[in-house]
Amino acid sequence: MDAIVLQILNGLDKGGAYALIALGLTLIFGTLGVVNFAHGALFMLGAFCAVAFNHLIGLEQVVVDPTKTTAWGTPLETRVPYIEAWLGDTGTAMLNYSVPLSILLAIPVMLLVGYVMERGLIRHFYKRPHAEQILVTFGLAIVLQEIIKSYFGANPIPQAAPDMVRGAMDLGVLMGFDPGTVVYPQWRIVYLFFSLSVIGAVFAFLQFTTFGMVVRAGMADRETVGFLGINIERRFTLVFAMAAVVAGLAGVMYTPILPPDYHMGMDFLVLSFVVVVVGGMGSLPGAVSAGFLLGILQSFASMNEVKTILPGIDQIIIYLVAVIILLVRPRGLMGRKGVMET
């Protein structure tokens, strides 16, 4: 039982990341009709906002000690972050909380990246076939990856969670299990709540604001909204930027779980597309629920008991489920009629 609880937690956590990326993908697809293969790269850019922020506040004062030398004969350098030298304990605390603090950098950066991407490139492909949209966005993803690699290198760059939530938590005690049986990393719990909060915020924004109402109307019937004199294009540009921010935030907070490297976006992209297809193209609740569902299924498929019966199932489960869902419900779990059917 404890093993099942652990895998459910794992699945929810993994599903949180899938759901956040798939949510942005669906928003873009639902509003602009664009299949954005650069969305994984936006997740990766978000993660590198955390790395850049950490580098920025971790800039070091280099003091050369001429009395000591390195193993290769150059004078020894002692490094102290400026922020610690200037602000003392406050500086140390800022370094400790650099991942959550980097959200402050990621939001404007991702808004800008999203805006520039949409205005500079994507809008020229609105009326082009989906195949061309896929090619151009995939190409863009590769360019973004290579830019990051040329600056930050190919090796993963570890980012530490704040000390307070760095360890593991004994959830078993809270759930009535024996102590030590359901132990789960604290940061993953933080990530789960964070992803639920962002998903909630996006839904609330679309549901309870006038802007969101117009966007939903635009998603349902773009032409009619246009006839009402509303500049839906401009709103959709902002939706694109918002989707970029959602992917970016998902990336920022994922860095303590997975040390970021330039390729991390591609690893999530394919899975997120499957999530969108399973959830139903253009359906926001579908994307979110499919994200969590596939995350949990993937975790269960990796259990030794399951793998003993079906070897290799952990590597194909997501695609297997996608095939079954598409056979039974061709529009996905919550797909709308008419999307990608013309």
């Binding site: 093993a3 193993a71 150059t74 090796n155 570890p158 360890g167 593991a168």
Partner: protein
């Protein structure tokens, strides 16, 4: 046409006699050399230069390791051509090189990108051989890629000096006459780790393996499990994980309640960084199981991996081929050269690539030719020292180097960003030497 043979005339007899006399009068050394210098691919006899190929991962997950390998190769070429401080040329024993290239020819090089993919590596190597005329090529950070390139070496008749490859198969069942490995292997890691694990963790342990699902992972799992079972440990489970899984949490969670008190991560590169980071996050290192502290072992370490895993490596045991903190003469000379050239110390990948280049060059000098069949013979059963690993044998039977193996652990009191691994024990070569027949395999012919 007449079928009647004419008797040899006087002029013909004189010509034949003169030719025969000339052949007999030619000193043996010249005729041997002349014979040796022909009939092999990319013979550089008529050129003032000789070209090496350095095929390393320049893109993909191992690009940083590839970049470090390339730095080492550039340094090796510089030293071979008599530039810089000479590095290990001043410590290598025996040494036939004299800092004026190889056999008087200046060394040049071309580079390629393996992308850590077998097909891309083979294509790149083929281009180097056919278009650039390399006499030897080297590099790489994956056993699958190394094995694929060794096969190509045998097909093309050009020597391949492996870069970083740790699978037993490279010099085991997939060994090739034209392939040579200086790096140690999974068997040696197990043999070196065994005594240290016994001393540090005892003989009553239960181990759980997470293994990268490809040739290197399988052989490492087998070698380490053999070692730990030999100590009396029980193997609880061996779970194969897909290469590049990213999030390993679903594989780590079952470890928690499996009854295991040791997790062995048969992962390398990004997989190791991710699995170790996540295992530590799951609180495994703080766990008490069967009344013992839970331990994690990473049988193959590298400094770049240690950098990627950050502070999660502290106190975790593993093995490495070489570490820049070694204080022998050869290591210090290499670290000094490399550090002054690039501003930081070399990785173990850089070390093995540098040494491989010098060893090949020295073998050519000793053989007096670039003919691969002769160079191979010069490398086989060659004993050398002063290259950072103590007295070393390039065993002829399987082309595997036998030298001391370092057992290391993540440094708990690092003094710099490079001071990540602490050498716990230097296991002598005699303890990691094995019978070449245990892994099977055939080297193949000298002449192809």
């Amino acid at each position: 046409m007449s079928i009647i043979r004419r008797p040899m005339n006087r002029r013909g007899l004189l010509k034949a006699g003169a030719t025969g006399g000339l052949v007999l009068a030619t000193p043996t050394i010249i005729s041997r050399s002349a014979w040796a210098e022909t009939n092999f691919r990319n013979d550089p006899t008529n050129s003032k230069t000789v070209t090496f190929g350095f095929n390393v991962p320049q893109t993909g997950a191992y690009a940083d390791e590839g970049a470090d390998e390339l730095r080492a190769y550039r340094l090796a070429v510089k030293h071979l051509n008599g530039e810089g401080d000479g590095g290990m040329l001043s410590t290598m024993k025996p040494l036939s090189l004299n800092g004026n290239g190889i056999l008087g020819k200046k060394v040049e090089y071309v580079t390629g990108d393996t992308q850590t993919k077998s097909d891309a590596a083979r294509a790149s190597a083929k281009r180097m051989i056919e278009k650039d005329g390399v006499v030897m090529w080297s590099g790489g950070s994956s056993s699958g890629v190394a094995i694929a390139q060794q096969s190509l070496a045998q097909e093309m008749g050009v020597v391949f000096m492996c870069g970083l490859t740790h699978s037993n198969d490279t010099t085991g069942k997939d060994r090739r006459r034209y392939g040579f490995r200086h790096f140690f292997n999974a068997y040696m890691s197990g043999a070196a780790l065994g005594p240290v694990l016994k001393k540090e963790m005892g003989t009553d342990r239960r181990a759980y393996h997470l293994t990268a699902d490809y040739t290197w992972g399988w052989t490492q799992e087998e070698s380490i499990a053999n070692t730990t079972e030999g100590l009396g440990w029980e193997t609880v489970n061996k779970v194969r994980t897909p290469l590049g899984a990213g999030d390993f949490s679903q594989y780590i969670a079952p470890v928690l309640n499996s009854g295991a008190d040791v997790l062995i991560l048969n992962h390398y590169g990004k997989d190791m960084i991710n699995s170790l980071t996540q295992a530590v996050q799951f609180g495994l290192r703080d766990k008490l199981v069967n009344g013992k502290n839970f331990e994690i072992i990473v049988p193959l370490y590298s400094r770049l991996m240690a950098q990627g895993a950050g502070e999660n490596i502290k106190g975790i045991y593993g093995t490495t081929n070489w570490n820049w903190s070694l204080q022998d003469e050869g290591s210090r000379a290499f670290v000094k050269s490399f550090g002054q050239e690039y501003g930081f110390p070399p990785s173990q990948a850089a070390h093995t690539c540098y040494v491989q280049t010098l060893l090949y060059a020295d073998a050519c000098e000793r053989a007096g030719t670039f003919n691969p069949a002769e160079v191979i013979k010069a490398l086989e059963d060659h004993e050398f020292d002063g290259m950072g690993n103590g007295p070393t044998l390039y065993r002829g039977a399987d082309h595997q180097c036998f030298k001391d193996v370092l057992v290391v652990k993540g440094n708990e009191n690092a003094t710099s960003q490079f001071d990540l691994l602490e050498v716990v024990e230097v296991t002598p070569a005699s303890q990691v030497t094995y019978d070449p027949e245990i892994f099977g395999g055939e080297l193949g012919p000298y002449k192809v």
